[in-house]
Amino acid sequence: MAKNNLAYVRTEIVPESPAPDLSKGIIGWVKNNLFSSISNSIMTIVGAMFLMWVLPPIYGFLFGNAVWPGEGVTVEDCRAKGAGACWAYIDDRMTFFIYGFFPKDAYWVTQEGLIASIMTYWRVNLVFAVGTLLLVPLMWPDLKYKLLNSILFFVVYPVFVFFMLTGGVFGLEEVPTVKWGGLTVTLIIGLVGIVVSLPLGIVLALGRQSKMPIIKTFCIMFIEVWRAVPLITVLFMASVMLPLFMPVGMTIDKLLRALVGVSLFSAAYMAEVVRGGLQALPKGQSEAAASLGLNYWKSMGFIILPQALKHVIPGIVNSFIALFKDTSLVAIVGIFDLLRATQVANLNLDWASSNQAITGYVFAAAIFWAFCFGMSRYSIMMEHRLDTGHKN
C-alpha cells in the first residue's frame, strides 16, 4: 500500500479496551468529585471542617449522651446535667404518639407482656396490619391479582377501617373521631388525601382540556379557586364557617370536613401536575390511537394517561409528600394528629426536663421523614421500572 495515497481501507476492527484507571475506583471518584479543581478542593476542605464541627455534638445528643429506655431509667436521668435526647420519654409515651386518646381494650389493658400491649389497641393495630397486608402486594409490581387487590384496598378496606375505628356495630364500643389521634390520624388523612386526590386530579386535568365549554370552565374554576386559597384557610373555613351554613342541629364530623378539605385542595394541585404530563405528550400519540379506532376513553386509558402519568411521577410524588406533611396543619383546627400529640405529650410533667420538647419534635420529624423518604424511594424505583428506553 502506498503510504501517501489518500485512499484508505480498514483491514481490522479496533478491539474494545477498558477505560483508563484514573477515572475508575475510589481514587478516581474522589479526584473527580472532590478535588477536580482548586476551588473544589477548598470547598471540600471547608465542608469537611464544618461537618467535623457539627456532627459530634449532634451525635452526642442523639446517641452518645442520650437516655435510652431500660430498667430503672427515670426522668431524673433525663434531668441530669449533660444528658442528651430523652428517648425513655418517647418510649414511655409511644402509645400516645401512635393512638392518641383511642380507648384501650378493657380486658387486655390489665394484662402483661408484648401480646397484651398489642391487643390493648387491637382495633387500630388490626387496621394497620390489614392495610399493610393489602398495600405491600399492591405496590409490589410483579405480583398478580392487581385488580382484586385494588378493589380490596380502595373499596373494601376504607369501609373496614370506618367500622373498625368508629365502632358502634358488632358489639364494638363506639369511638367518636375526636378520640382518634396521633400517627393514626396523620396516616388516615395522608392516605385518604393521596387516594382521593390522584384520580380526582386526573379527572380535573382531563376536564380542563375538554372541548366542552361547561366542563372546561367548571374545572378551571375549581382548580384556580382551590389553588389560590391557603390550606389553613380551607381548614378554618371547613371547621368554623361551614357549620354556620348548616341547618340547625346538623353537623358534619370535624375529621371528615378536614379530609374533604385536604383532598380537594391536593386534587387541584394534582390536576395541574397531570396536565403538565398530558401537554408533554406529542400529538401523534393521540392521533395514532384515534386512527386505530380507539375512542376517547380507551385512548386516554391505554395510551395517553399511562405515558403522561409516567412522565410526571416526580411531580405526583412531590404533591403526595407535600400533602403528607401538610396534614400537620389540621392541628390548628383541633384535630389530634401526630404533631398535636407531640405537642401535648411535651407538656407532660412526668417527663419534664430541658430536652423533653426537643426529643419529642425530633421523634415526630423522624417519623415524617421516614414516610416521605419511603415515598420518594418508591417513586424512583417505579420510574426506573417503567422506563422503556424511549423518550418520545
Binding site: 386512527s291 386505530l292 380507539l294 418520545n392
Partner: protein
Amino acid sequence: MTKQTQTAVKKPTEVEENAGVAIEITGMNKWFGDFHVLRDIDLKVMKGERIVIAGPSGSGKSTLIRCINRLEEHQQGHIIVDGTELTSDIKKIDEVRREVGMVFQHFNLFPHLSILENCTLAPIWVRGVPKAEAEETAMHYLERVKIPEQALKYPGQLSGGQQQRVAIARSLCMNPQIMLFDEPTSALDPEMIKEVLDVMVSLAEDGMTMLVVTHEMGFARQVANQVVFMDQGQIVEQNNPEDFFNNPQHARTQEFLSQILH
C-alpha cells in the same frame, strides 16, 4: 385550468376486477382559521387503487389524507369513505377509523407498550378479538414486515425503519380496507427507506387500497395507478404515472418535476 383538472378526474384508470368506490370526496374545502388550506377538492378512489399524492410542502397533501379519517375536520363538501359519510357524528367517525389504517411520518408507535402490544391493543379493545387470536394475527403481520423476532422489544429499541414497519403491521392488524400513508419514509435514514418501501410495494401487490403522500417518485412510478399533484391546497393535475411523469400538462407540475427529477 380547473376544467382540465375536472377531466383528469374522470380519466379512466386500470379497471379493477370488482371495483367499487372506496373514497369519494366532492367539493371539499377546509380552513385553518382564516387560511384556506384545501380548496375545492374532488377525488374518487376505487377499491384496490393506489393513489400517490405529490406536491411541494405546504400544498395540503397531508391535510387531505388526514381529512379522510377525520384527524382533521373539513368545513365544506362531502367525504364518503366506504359508504359512510364523515360528519361530526363520533360513532360514524370511529366506524370509518376502524376500516382505515394510517401510517405516520414519525411512526407514532406507543413507546410504553411492547411491539406485540402495539399490534394487539386495537384489535382487542376496538374489535373485541380474543387476546390469543390477536397475538396470532399480530405475529402474522410482523412476519410479513419481516420483524417477528422484535415482538417483545419496545419501540425505543428499534431502528427507524423497523419502527415504521411495525407501524404498518399495527395498522394491518385491524384488517383495514384502506391504508393511508403520510410521508412514511420522510423521517428515515436513507439506508432504511427501501425496507419500508418494499413492504408497501408488497401491500400494493396484494390489492390494498392505498393513498400515499410521498416524495419517492420511484415508488409512484412503480406502484401507483394514479398520481395526484397538489399545489396551494388544490389538485392541480391528476394522471396515470406514465403520462404524469413523461408528459406533465400543468406548468406547476412541470416545474415541480424538473426540480425533483434531476
